[in-house]
Amino acid sequence: MDKIYGFLIGPGAWIAFSVFILGCICKIGAIILATPKKDRVVLAYFSPKYGFRSLIHWLIPFGTISMQENPLFTLVSFAFHFCVLIVPLFITGHVVLVETFWSVSWWTIPDKLGDILTLIVLLCLAFFWGRRLWVKEVKFVTSWTDFLLLSLVTAPFLFGFIAYHGWIDYKLMLVLHVLSAEILLIAFPFTRLIHMFVGLLTRVYIGSEFGGVRHVKDW
């Protein structure tokens, strides 16, 4: 198990992060480069002012009408996306590894707080699973790819949580954690997960059009 772990945190991590970073750059680059061909008008009307005005409204909890109409989903969604970014970036386990191998270090959240934020992520994920499984309207538009996507995101958090607490079999759980996390990173650019980056672009695009062309609010 130690040898597998040694591979995963060495060459495995290199492969996963390379695919992740290069993949995201290529995908976003392709979208930006394709814009002049697909929709020339948007460039003419591109407006930082209206674009970012719209983006900011959508980044504020309850900043839009559709969010006000679905308060529970909005709450869960914001809590989820906040924790899902904070936890991997600032957990001691991750910073210590980067510090040891690449000699760069940054601020960490205390382990106890990390544990609570992880629990919040897991509860939110349980909510998303439940919606897809039991809410009729959502179930209707759900395909197996949605469950695959949910599994990809759930696995690293679940195994990381179990490993941190030393439950079941510490070494196996930590190996599964790192393995599932690297699969997630590699899959990221090629699945809908890339919406975390592309979604920001789309918002600016829609905001430009609504603000600059139609002269209406889009939130």
Partner: protein, 131 residues
């Protein structure tokens, strides 16, 4: 009479087993005042014997003018005299945490022997032992 002798023998055996059972080990990282993880127990001599490390300067190294001096060693000083928990400007830039992990985890990974996962060194019951 017999019962008294028996009690004496049992008491003696108990005491002897406590004394003999007590191994020589160091509890590392007393410098971290409110540690995130349980402190690491390090069986200094046993470890170096098992890992066949004869050269003390592998860990207790000495630097002069920014260069490693291979045949001098610094076992008279704790790591923390040169590697601070929170290095400020002008200090050695390698923090104590980084120094320990690079040295300990680094060698274990390179030699493919010895613990490499967080929980193998930072064991949950270490803290109880150190009290």
């Amino acid at each position: 009479m017999k019962i008294k002798t028996l009690i004496l023998i049992i008491a003696f055996l108990g005491l002897a087993s406590i004394c003999l059972g007590q191994e020589d080990y160091l509890i590392l990282g007393k410098e971290f005042k409110s540690p995130e993880r349980p402190r690491v127990i390090f069986h200094h001599d046993l470890h170096n014997e098992k890992a066949h490390i004869e050269n003390c300067s592998v860990c207790h190294h000495v630097y002069k003018n920014g260069k490693l001096v291979p045949d001098e060693s610094s076992e008279d000083q704790p790591c923390s005299s040169c590697h601070k928990v929170h290095p400020v400007k002008g200090d050695n830039p390698i923090s104590l945490r980084e120094a320990y992990h690079k040295r300990c985890m680094g060698c274990h990974l390179k030699e493919k022997r010895g613990p490499v996962m967080c929980g193998e060194c930072h064991k949950a019951n270490n803290e109880k032992k150190s009290k």
